[in-house]
């Protein structure tokens, strides 16, 4: 079964907050759900499919469905693959709609790691109890930052990638963020400023890392008949791919990501190639994340990512592949430490022609959103969607 053309993204909402001292996580879920429903021109009793992750408070989707007053649900999905979940949920929601399991799906994300003063990237963290790899990794101080830094170190060793090339990714994000009034970091930075910022985990500097922010976002997907009855521009789900990558029984290879598998699956379903993509939302937990995913998605050859991202090639209006025109996780926000939601939302804005005029890609009809969730250096989820303006 193909999902190409079977579902549309009809509502999208990004919470404007970046520090939610005065709101609970559940309330943030409510506000993004309401915002996305308002955007679509629907109400909560129209929702019959609900998608969230382990970041939502409670047992799977149950407590949030209760809090939000969702009483018409006939399809649930709380697949949690970290920050890539919300890209994956677009695919799963389209599948569910295509199968008639639901007509209108709501996907929500919210969190407040900043208000809770969480050391997201630099404190060792387990994903739960009885995790079999924990005794072999947690005592060694595994953090988000060092798990990605080891990939960067190996990439530099194998392909000659430089810190200056990685810095170009942050520079491009900052060029976009300057136009986003909600972005945490709006100052345009230079390559020199990135490579001269404090070292966090060699070779990643502070400015190679994404921000820590509160907030969230929500999406509404609907079947074609409903989408066409609404007043918003039509954004069609054209293709989806998902994958996991792990340590391969100890024969781990840190030079590539799961995008190597999720990307081609999405492109095949959509019937398009990387050359056709006019705008790309690429998960940017760190600069190295972007570089490796661009290679693995086929935007350039493996090992050529450093060259590809240099000289402003990712800056809208300047380079060949405008990316993360909201400023991305590197400059705008990374709500609940999960960036997949905002990746999809900015792709929707671009396809609707509703991105900031300074970063809007003219005549944008084909966009990609891609997420990596978990740890690039150990085990991660990978999800790719391709969206089209109809």
């Amino acid at each position: 079964m193909s999902i190409n053309g079977k579902a549309y993204i009809v509502g999208a909402f990004e919470h404007p907050t970046r520090k939610a001292d005065d709101k609970s996580v559940a309330q943030l879920h409510a506000e993004v759900a309401y915002g996305a429903l308002q955007d679509a021109g629907l109400s909560k009793d129209d929702v019959d499919g609900f998608f969230c992750t382990g970041a939502a408070p409670g047992l799977g989707p149950l407590n949030m469905a209760d809090y939000l007053g969702l009483t018409k649900l006939r399809h649930l999905d709380s697949t949690d693959v970290g920050g890539s979940s919300y890209v994956l949920h677009v695919g799963h929601a389209a599948e569910a709609i295509a199968l008639g399991l639901c007509d209108i799906a709501l996907v929500t994300l919210a969190g407040r790691p900043r208000a809770e003063a969480m050391a997201t990237g630099t404190a060792p963290r387990s994903w739960g109890v009885n995790v079999p790899d924990d005794p072999f990794e947690i005592p060694y101080g595994r953090t988000v930052a060092n798990a990605y830094a080891m990939c960067a170190m190996r990439h530099m060793h194998e392909f000659g990638t430089t810190s200056e090339q990685l810095a170009w990714i942050k520079v491009a994000a900052s060029h976009h963020a300057q136009w986003n009034e909600h972005a945490m970091l709006r100052k345009v930075v230079t390559v020199e400023e990135v490579v001269n910022s404090p070292m966090i985990s060699d070779p990643l500097h502070r400015l190679d890392c994404c921000v820590i922010s509160d907030g969230g976002g929500a999406l509404i997907l609907a079947k074609p008949e409903i989408a066409k009855s609404l007043k918003r521009p039509l954004v069609k789900v054209k293709g989806h791919g998902e994958a996991t990558k792990n340590q391969n029984a100890g024969y781990t290879d840190l030079t590539y990501s799961g995008a190597r598998w999720s990307g081609p699956r999405a492109f095949e379903e959509a019937g398009v190639t990387p050359k056709d993509i006019q705008y790309a939302s690429i998960y940017d937990s760190f600069t190295i994340t972007v570089l490796m995913q661009l290679e693995d998605l086929g935007f350039c050859e493996k090992g050529q990512g450093g060259k590809f991202v240099s000289d402003g090639n990712l800056i809208s209006g300047v380079g060949k592949l405008p990316f993360n025109t909201d400023g991305g996780g590197l400059c705008n926000n990374h709500p609940a430490n999960r960036g997949g939601m905002t990746k999809v939302i900015e792709a929707v804005r671009q396809l609707r022609g509703e991105a900031h005029p300074k970063v809007q890609v003219p005549g944008c009809t084909l966009a990609l959103a891609h997420g990596t969730g978990g740890l690039l250096g150990t085990r991660h989820g990978s999800a790719t969607v391709i969206l089209e303006r109809e």
């Binding site: 005794p135 005592p139 060694y140 060092n146 190996r154 985990s201 029984a249 024969y251 781990t252």
Partner: protein, 132 residues
Amino acid sequence: MATPASNRQLPAIQVDPTNKPYFDAAREGRLLIGLCKDTGKHFWYPRGCSPFTLSNNVELVEAKGTGVIYTYTVMRTKEPYCVAYVELDEGVRVFTNIVDCDLDSLKIGQKVKVVFKPTQGDAPPATMFTPA
């Protein structure tokens, strides 16, 4: 500029019934790795099933305890430490720390050997490496 590896306090390792033999050997200063008896291939990390066949026809075998750094990074925290993957001579890549050295002198491909470092309380030691 040299950055001596810190002797940061290590958290207690949580032992479960399946990985207990690995940590019992670590207490004796021996490094064990998984062996799939269906395929004859080594695996990491130790577990009760073969990641190649999923059968439980596995055992722990002693490794030489030497290898090379596959990749590494230095966490520039108040107590700097090096996280690395060490490729053992047997072929598997082990998530670990490089210790007892100048953290600024490390290189990918560098030869290392195993050392065991105490963790909190009565918990078993952590398996780490130092330049050979």
